[in-house]
């Protein structure tokens, strides 16, 4: 299998970005999490936002792949391999973001020697590990063509995929101290995992089609677009339920709602409402519009970015107003706070990612891009080529034809 010069160029670029990210991570390990924008009042930031986003993005792939077998949707079956590659890469990135966020990664083995089984974080680590194993098994069996094993695994994969997002939601949703404390957190996470995950899968499938690696017929694009529109509607419904419940009593959570609607996190909230839910839904609602690859990709990218914005407002809104409010406030513990004086204190929470944080995030994303590119080259293209050589010319033909077109 040969990489084209264009693919090679992309891989080198992604590799360099990933290397810079690793370097910056080492810088963070040496200097501490003080190099980020986090503080004692806003104690989680971009890494946790990206963690939530990527756990969600991972869903789409595995759910589409397992649905193909569980519900016997024949037309989804050719998508299973790219879908599982996408899912595997995303869950690895999610895990990486959690590890990067840890202040004491050298003591991580303590989770194995003294696990606290009531901690949602422990549940999450268990369920993510299961999920990763399922993804890898799926990947191996699909590429080997072990149809029966894949079918059986799908019955396990589908509930685990839903569980992994619910458990991630419970990390937040079970905390009575914060505005996250709501029973709808898990359904919201599953819904936004479904829409953002499927949206990312569509983008990846279009990219693979353009690269001549795997064919993505317009009919299938139309079908997935329709499914995406449904998922977006479900997500919007859940968010609507939550927002109404927050707003109606006019007390308690209404303060948090005000921060979301008109305060610090308003840009994220409104982008998601309009750019991440309404516009993509309208774009995908029309039967004819779904045949346009440009429109479907635009809508999909909007959905992914909208869900990213949702992660931002969801996480950060809860850190703005401390429950015990009063001057001088909370001692921040940041690098600036160490110099003493007013810089030590904050009455309310604020957060802005720093350059090292952004560089690390870009590095992780680049690593993901690299892994996806290489895996799809080796597993999909490599596979279609061997199949072609074995005489199953029909499998290889579309890819070849597409490459000629590109």
């Amino acid at each position: 299998m040969q990489l084209t010069s264009k693919t090679k160029g992309i891989c080198i670029l992604l590799g360099v970005l990933a290397a810079i990210g690793v370097g910056t991570w080492i810088y963070q390990l040496v200097n501490g999490l003080g190099v980020t924008g986090m503080s004692n009042v806003n104690s989680w930031g971009t890494y946790i936002i990206m963690f939530m986003l990527f756990v969600g993005l991972s869903a789409g792939g595995l759910i589409v792949a397992s649905s193909a077998h569980v519900f016997n949707i024949e037309s989804f079956k050719p998508l299973a391999l790219p879908a599982v590659i996408c899912s595997t890469v995303c869950i690895c990135l999610a895990g990486m973001f959690i590890l990067i966020d840890l202040g004491g990664i050298v003591r991580i083995w303590r989770i194995l020697t003294g696990p606290n089984f009531v901690s949602p974080l422990l549940w999450d680590m268990c369920v993510i590990t299961c999920y990763l194993v399922i993804n890898i098994l799926d990947l191996v069996w699909i590429s080997k063509g072990a149809e029966e094993k894949v079918r059986k695994l799908s019955y396990v994969a589908l509930p685990v995929a839903i569980l992994v997002h619910s458990v991630t939601a419970w990390i937040f949703g079970l905390q009575i101290a914060r505005e996250w404390y709501t029973a709808i957190m898990a359904p919201i996470f599953v819904a936004s995992a479904l829409d953002s995950g499927l949206a990312l899968l569509i983008v990846c499938l279009v990219a693979l089609d353009r690269a001549g690696i795997a064919e993505f017929p317009v009919k299938l694009q139309n079908m997935l677009g329709k499914l995406l529109a449904t998922f977006v509607a479900v997500d919007a419904f859940f968010i609507g339920c939550e927002v109404l419940t927050m707003a109606y009593p006019g007390a308690g959570q209404a303060q948090a709602l005000a921060i979301m609607a008109t305060g610090e996190t308003a840009p994220f909230f409104w982008f998601e409402m309009i750019g991440g839910l309404l516009i993509p839904f309208l774009l995908l609602a029309g039967q004819k519009r779904r045949n346009s690859t440009g429109l479907v990709v635009t809508a999909s990218l909007l959905v992914v970015f909208g869900v990213f914005c949702k992660r931002c407002w969801l996480l950060l809104t809860s850190f703005v107003e401390p429950n015990m409010y009063g001057a001088p406030g909370i001692s921040l513990g940041t690098h600036a706070a160490q110099t003493g004086g007013r810089a030590t204190w904050a009455l309310t929470g604020s957060y802005m990612p720093t350059l090292p944080e952004v560089v690390i995030v870009i590095g992780v994303l680049a690593l993901g891009g690299l892994a996806f590119t290489l895996l799809s080259q080796y597993l999909i293209k490599g596979r279609t080529q061997t199949q072609g050589a074995a005489g199953e010319a029909h499998a290889a033909k579309p890819a070849e034809a597409n490459r000629a077109a590109v």
Binding site: N40, D101, L102, G103, I111, S119, L121, A177, T339
Partner: protein, 205 residues
């Protein structure tokens, strides 16, 4: 069983911050963070007031770990680094802390602080009680109810140093202790009682 606790008489507290400094000195708390702080409730300025003139009031609340009976922080800790000990205190085993900061998200009182950087101490060396373990970068810390002192029958440093004698330290499981009698009175205030964390630190209004 023992259930160590502190009662703070808000009528006696003048907001002098002596307990803040006593705690910092005793426990070698690094620059930029405090285990115990005094807030002027619902005021954007220190020593400010609540309400509008002439209907104004001022409450200064010394705020540190509430040593909850139902600690939200302890439940969420994945490694069991945060634990409830047999004296009823919420403690941290720094060797087990992986710095995930789940406990900081779970604590309703914002009393946990994290070593974001290499801990910095103004005199350039460790100070305070030599028995207090030195924490490293990347771990969470908070009030231990002066574990090293209370283990040896001494009272916590904030209680020892309060010039107004606003603080009472004792065992809530001992019905004859002063603190148990104070706890039974009807002027007890529990911070964020509706969170259900059942703090052992309580306030007298």
């Amino acid at each position: 069983m023992t259930k160590l606790a502190i009662a703070i008489n808000l009528h006696r507290c003048t907001g002098c911050h002596t307990c803040v400094n006593a705690c910092k000195m005793q426990n070698n708390v690094p620059m930029g963070m405090l285990w115990n702080r005094v807030i002027t409730e619902n005021s954007a300025v220190s020593d400010g007031v609540e309400g509008t003139y002439p209907n104004i009031s001022r409450t200064t609340i010394p705020l540190a770990c509430q040593h909850c009976e139902n600690p939200a922080c302890q439940k969420v800790c994945p490694t069991g680094a945060t634990y409830k000990d047999d004296m009823g205190r919420v403690e941290i085993d720094y060797d087990k802390c992986i710095g995930c900061r789940m406990c900081m998200a779970a604590c309703p009182y914002n009393v946990r602080v994290f070593n974001w950087n290499e801990p910095d101490r103004d005199p350039g060396f460790n100070y305070g009680d030599a028995r207090v373990p030195v924490r490293s970068k990347g771990v969470v810390e908070k009030c231990t109810l002066c574990k090293e002192r209370t283990d040896n029958g001494q009272v916590p440093m904030c209680v020892e140093c309060c010039p107004m004698e606003a603080r009472v330290y004792g065992d809530l499981d001992d019905p004859n202790s002063e603190i148990s009698k104070l706890r039974a009175k009807n002027n007890v205030r529990i911070l964020l009682e509706d969170m259900g964390t059942k703090p052992q630190v309580f306030y007298l209004e």
